[in-house]
Amino acid sequence: MTCIEARGLRKAFGTVIALNGVDLCVEEGRILGLIGPNGAGKTTLLNAILGLTPYQGELKVLGRDPWTERDQLMRDVCFIADVAVLPRWIRVSQALDYVAGVHPRFDRAKAEGFLAKTTIGRDRKVRELSKGMVAQLHLALVMAIDARLLVLDEPTLGLDILYRKQFYDSLLNDYFDRSRTIVVTTHQVEELEHVLTDVVFIDRGRIVFNCSTEEFESRYLEVMVNPEHVAAAGALRPIQERQALGRSILIFDLMTLDKVDRQQLATFGDVRTPSIADLFVAVMNSQAGPAQGAAR
């Protein structure tokens, strides 16, 4: 079943175009990483999916129109923005009471179970908790909701590495079960690239790259080229070239190469799958070129 279906999604704030015709289709059970530079339209896209902002174009989330049916949609969708959205005046027990009161799919015992593993006291106020504890509390609330789609917008922003790791670990071990869908944006791609099933790059309101991680692994190749082969490798149109520790590292898109060239790559040096972050940089640089040209 399709979880998110967007066609020609557009959104402008005055003269600034935040979304410029986004087409996106996310099937149920995927973990999609939405990656883009600051101001690329990530948050605007998530806000449209969550019914927080009006838009032009077609958008269906779990078969509903998010803008007109936000309150019903939120029975099946959970959302963590960044760590600072829990009201500072609320007590932990009040937050549990409130969510249990308004959410038909909230399992209070489960939330209490998650909280029991932390040091968060029930009568503490959110303003008295550390940033990491607030994230734990929010995650405990969200994970106790039997939702079909979880949207995370920079959920670990400002957390230290221990909390970040724990956050994604509990999300995967205690929450994700293949029938749920997760959409996550983050700047720390390397921390969750092993859990993603799909990667989408967004730049200036457009989706510039969209592929599953299996396809990613079979399609892109990073070669640490031995010095004597640099010229030959460069002739095979790498999509990115960088220097590290005195050696050239080239990323190739195998779709653009024929069989002979592919076999040749292995002889140039050490071959491996590039990281998402490196490919992101490569894609962004190749995007930037034509756009700058157009600006002139």
Binding site: M1, N47, L50, G51, L52, T53, P54, R70, D71, Q72, L73, M74, R75, D76, V77, C78, F79, I80, A81, A84, V85, L86, P87, R88, W89, I90, R91, Q94, D97, Y98, V99, G101, V102, H103, P104, R105, H138, D146, R148, S179
Partner: protein
Amino acid sequence: MNTQSNAMNEFDSQRVAPAAVSGTRPLYWSIRRELWENRSIFVAPLAVAGVALSAITLSSIAGIWEKRLRLNPAQPHAPYEMAAGLMMLTGIVVSVFYCIDALHSERRDRSILFWKSLPVSDLTTVLAKASIPLIILPLLTFAITVAMQSLMLLLSSAVALASGSRVATLLTNISFLRMSWLLLYHILTAHALWPAPMYCWLLLVSGWPRRAAFLWAALPLVAIAGVEQIVFHTWHFAALVGGRLIGAAPMVTSTSPDMFPTDPMTHLSMGSFLSSPGLWMGLAVAALFLAAAVRLRRYQGPI
């Protein structure tokens, strides 16, 4: 294909089964949320009542000292009326400050993203907020006032006993039940229904500007009043707004305006109040403001 869709149906029905939150529960919990967040709603009236009671106690002790009941026998209800007036004034102040911040605070602290991530509609949220000045605070003001007046009556009886006056005379002079009933009537009509458009206006404006909501709320009213004064040399609009806010509702009672509304001699005129066009026009305007506030909240995110 079939098995897949069957499995999907089964899956769907499993998901739908626990969805049994009745329609009023989100409203109930949204009101609880307002009371948690804005503790001044009950702290302020309680504090005022406490201070006033202490002052009255001191005065009564002085009365024992002087060996007389410090009450004017011609106006046995005067202290109770003063107490009620004080509490109603507190109610107005708390309502105004609550309303002007109602839709602003959740945007300021970004918690609107949390509230909107839960299955609670904007209508429910706005209704919960409107119920604070229109239902919760009037009832709370009534309850605290009656409790305060009961304590005052007890205190007077104690002073009367201690100073040798006759308690029975005191008690027969004061018609407590009628006073309470009149108070409830007055609060619900003149302090909830009548000023509803003012409170809903403040609520609406609280959702609009990034800062200085109070100015945005007051300036249009001042401007309209000013234009009216310059063009027509009259103060009708200012009188209208002022009257709405302080609960100066005509037609609530048929007695002279000098008389305190909870004076036992007051004649109620519920019929003429309920049939007055001013009331219904006001409520219609209030409903319009609330509808606009619901729409506004739909569009708005954190500041």
